[in-house]
């Protein structure tokens, strides 16, 4: 292999992506836990940790730019770097959604939840599952697996729909809960967006494997 060093650096990018993936998965899980128990300390931790996610994102983008500028990558090497640039931005944005849920927890304050959370943790579990499998598809270069992930987004959209209508009917019944119910709608919207970003990552994997940019599943939201 005449370019062993170069291909080793490309391999390192993959490891960095997985690390960033773990960071944002932790952030999402913690933010939903914080919302469930209205734990302001945990919420603040998620908000503070987002700076680390951003830092990791810039470092990874910088590595990609350096490889493009100095190594003239082509073919699947080039597609890998382009896919990583795209995946990294989706991951960073997922971190922002988790941070957003943390901020909602702080806004919500000490008032009790309108209702015990049901839909949001279910949505989060599905979204995190999609995210994990999209990263698995990335590591395995598995376009088939990536395509399956995109289909799952429909289930998250359906749950979002149910959460929205449930909260809406509670607001109609009792206008005094409007503020708190709106916070939960915002939070569920953030989780819905996390699933969309996982779909984007799956699309990047399909591009990496096939070379064809693909829009697989247009989310309802």
């Amino acid at each position: 292999m005449p370019r062993e060093g170069f291909h080793k650096r490309i391999k390192e990018l993959e490891q960095d992506v997985l690390e960033l993936g773990e960071m944002v998965i932790t952030a999402v899980n913690r933010s939903v836990e914080a919302l469930k128990s209205l734990d302001a300390r945990e919420a603040k931790r998620v908000i503070d940790n987002d700076a680390q996610v951003n830092k990791k994102r810039w470092a990874l983008e910088d590595k990609c730019v350096d490889l493009i500028a100095t190594q003239q990558p082509v073919a699947s090497d080039l597609r890998e770097i382009i896919a990583v640039l795209s995946i990294v931005r989706d991951l960073e944005r997922i971190g922002d959604y988790a941070e957003g849920i943390g901020k909602i927890v702080l806004m919500h304050g000490d008032q009790p939840l309108v209702k015990p959370l049901t839909y949001i943790p279910q949505m989060a579990e599905k979204a995190v599952g999609m995210l994990r499998r999209s990263l698995e598809a990335f590591v395995k270069r598995d376009a088939g697996l990536a395509r399956e992930i995109c289909i799952e987004d429909d289930a998250v959209d359906t749950l979002y729909d149910q959460a929205y209508h449930d909260l809406l009917s509670r607001m109609i019944e009792n206008p005094s809960v409007i503020t708190r119910a709106t916070y939960l709608i915002w939070a569920s919207h953030n989780v819905e967006r996390i699933a969309d970003r996982a779909t984007n990552i799956a699309e990047s994997v399909i591009y990496l494997v096939t070379g064809t940019p693909t829009e697989l599943n247009v989310s309802r939201y």
């Binding site: 005449p2 370019r3 170069f6 082509v74 699947s76 597609r79 096939t210 070379g211 064809t212």
Partner: protein
Amino acid sequence: MERETKIETDNLNLYYGTFQALIDVNIRIPARNITAIIGPSGCGKSTLLRCFNRMNDLVENARMEGRIIIDAENILAPETDLIALRRKVGMVFQRPNVFPLSIYNNLKFGLRIHDMLSRNDEIMQTIREGLEHVGLWDDLKDKLKKNAHSLTLEQQQRLCIARVLILRPDIILLDEPCSALDPIATLRVEELLRVLKRDYTLVIVTHNMQQAARVSDFTGFMYLGKLIEFADTHKVFTNPAEQLTEDYIKGSFG
């Protein structure tokens, strides 16, 4: 839209004695575009290029089979007028091969052997146009009597291109035209090639994959005498169809 083909080969085989250097090459080179031929040393890319103006005829023991169609004529046919062919299909080499003559006479030389001499003022006009085309006129217009060897390598290579252009060719073959030039001169010559493709069909053989990627519209990858892949350059360098092409351009072998 169907692209106009300028050069088409039909099961082209070439042998140097018993060694087969080209194996069933079928290529369609589009008119007024830049086509790059890449591949490792000894893959047959220069041999293929030299088929297009029958330069391989000068190699002892070289034998060709198949057809090469340029403008509906098979140039491998025995009745082909080689002088006329080589005027129509000009060639630029790796090292600038200027003659040890003045700049003016370097250019006039080609006109003379192709019997294109006319009145002195017309010759001057032709030479001026040639030098303008390659971006040398402003620098050299007062130095036409100077020996061409006093020019920089880049200027010499541009002069060689001008010498080809004034014979009004259709096709220009370039065999590693920048390998003797420094990187900046290389980029400037590449710019010139992009201008020339408006009027000419250019075929460039290069070892430098980045040059092929930068300058060409179409790329052919050759390996062990075969044309492995031919496609538009964007496709070849982002998502080649053949694993062998992918491995070569990524530097996994060669």
